[in-house]
């Protein structure tokens, strides 16, 4: 996969031309190399270039996932099996299970599937290929593309889990809109923190225990907020009750994502 060529093709000519002698990869690797802003007619084009690089990287992730379908299928099967095991263990027939239990079981399953799904984000590619990305893209672009991609993946898992839960354990959610919004925010938070943690764990020899112990404490604030909000959605409470909590969840997501964004370049360089 020639990610480098594709990045080359999306970057505007004016920035490219500005560095006749430089390798294009260098430019993308570090935007500080772009030089005095006054020399480029349109400084915005740099950010635009970064956005395009990110979209190329995301499409690379999707392609990679699609080529190794076993990983995706594996994680989807993981969700379904986990739900089914819970269903059999609690011995519940439809509607027989209390709503707080439904909520807790649902989020625990989503948590574990998300940890498993995101854990591989820095593992599935070889050391050599990582070096290649290191050469052609800035660390900021890489972490953002991975966070966005993993958000999508976690959201798919969460929706699948929701579907299976609704079918076999019943669907006690009264306010679908709030619940889905909460799922989106929860998926963002999970993916922001787990992506960073999986980057850290991959530097430490990638063992699964480390991934779990590093991520669980960090993810608990997000998990607790998400559980609170989804409880409100189940009880069909008015949105005004949940607005504070939604905002808090969003704020925690932003804190975690920004910290990851700032710290990732240091991790990537080592």
């Amino acid at each position: 996969m020639f990610v480098g060529h594709r990045i080359a093709s999306v970057v505007p000519k004016e920035i490219w031309c500005h560095f006749g002698s430089f390798d294009l990869g260098f430019l993308i690797y570090d935007f500080r190399f772009v030089g005095p802003k006054s020399e480029i007619q349109n400084p915005k084009s740099i950010y635009l270039a970064m956005l395009k690089v990110i979209s190329v990287l995301i499409s690379k992730e999707v392609t990679l996932e699609w080529r190794q379908k076993f990983a995706l299928n594996g994680i989807l099967l993981y969700v379904v099996s986990a739900v089914f095991i819970t269903y059999l263990s609690v011995g519940a027939r439809q509607g027989n299970i209390s709503t707080p239990t439904w909520n807790a079981l649902y989020w625990i399953i989503i948590l574990f599937s998300a940890v498993n799904a995101v854990a591989k984000s820095f593992v599935q590619e070889h050391q050599g290929r990582q070096l290649y990305y290191y050469m052609i893209a800035s660390p900021e672009a890489i972490i953002l593309s991975k966070i966005i991609y993993n958000t999508g993946l976690t959201l798919i898992l969460a929706l699948l889990g929701y579907g299976v839960f609704s079918v076999i354990l019943g669907n006690p959610i009264q306010d679908q809109g709030l619940f889905l919004l909460n799922l989106v925010l929860g998926a963002m938070g999970f993916s922001a923190s787990l992506t960073m943690v999986s980057g850290i764990a991959s530097k430490a020899g990638n063992n699964a225990t480390l991934m779990a112990i590093l991520s669980f404490p960090v993810i608990i604030p997000i998990l607790l907020m998400a559980i609170h909000i989804s409880k409100n959605a189940m009880d069909g409470l008015d949105w005004s009750v949940s607005v504070d909590k939604l905002l808090t969840l969003l704020a925690i997501n932003v804190i975690v994502a920004v910290t990851g964004f700032i710290l990732f370049p240091y991790l990537w360089r080592s």
Binding site: S193, M196, V197, I200, K203, A204, G205, N207, L210, I213, L214, F216, P217, V218, I220, P221, L224, M225, H228, D244, K245, T248, A251, I252, I255, V256, T259, G260, L263, Y266, L267, S270
Partner: protein
Amino acid sequence: MRQSWWKFLAIALLLYTLIAGLLMDVPRLPILNETIRALYFHVTMWFGMILMLVAAVYYSIKYLRTNDIRHDDMAIEFTNSAILFGVLGIVTGMLWAKFTWGDYWSSDPKQNASAIGILMYFAYLVLRNSLTDSQQRARIGAIYNIFAFAAFIPLIFVLPRLTDSLHPGNGGNPGFNAYDLDSKLRAVFYPAIIGWTLLGSWIATVRVRMRRVERTIEDRMINS
């Protein structure tokens, strides 16, 4: 580090905390009674822990900027003494809770959050020990330290305030400010915070020096 006045200050402040904290008059209140003295130990230890964690984050950032291993020594040792004070804070809090709330652990949001916070920093220690190269360990340790602190702050300062807590000052319980009309509690409370923080920094600096001595000896053995 060579100066010693602050060590004497730490001893003086902690002696004052112990003597005044245990002997001075405190407001007599129902349920709390004499256990209000826990304020001087439990709460101040947590304040000291947070100040030391801030110091650890400061040195982690410094390490990432300079790649100087000596900043990493400071970061890990400040975290170590913060963990010590965190555990002491939880234990003293549990003792207090046994006499006022009736149970060592009553699933109070603040209790749970602090337990999770401590787990986060234990994970930090495990992460560091799983890395063998010292520069790699310092770098990844610093990254996780900053990352964990960013998650720790909402965990202990924001989340417990959103739910009811049994802690004074939360969920309709009056805070200590309400009891402390004549500022008698404050006269011991603030010195105690400074005293615990200084003691923690003292422990940290002693251990940092140990680390540096060990490293020098190791270097000499390798080079000779």
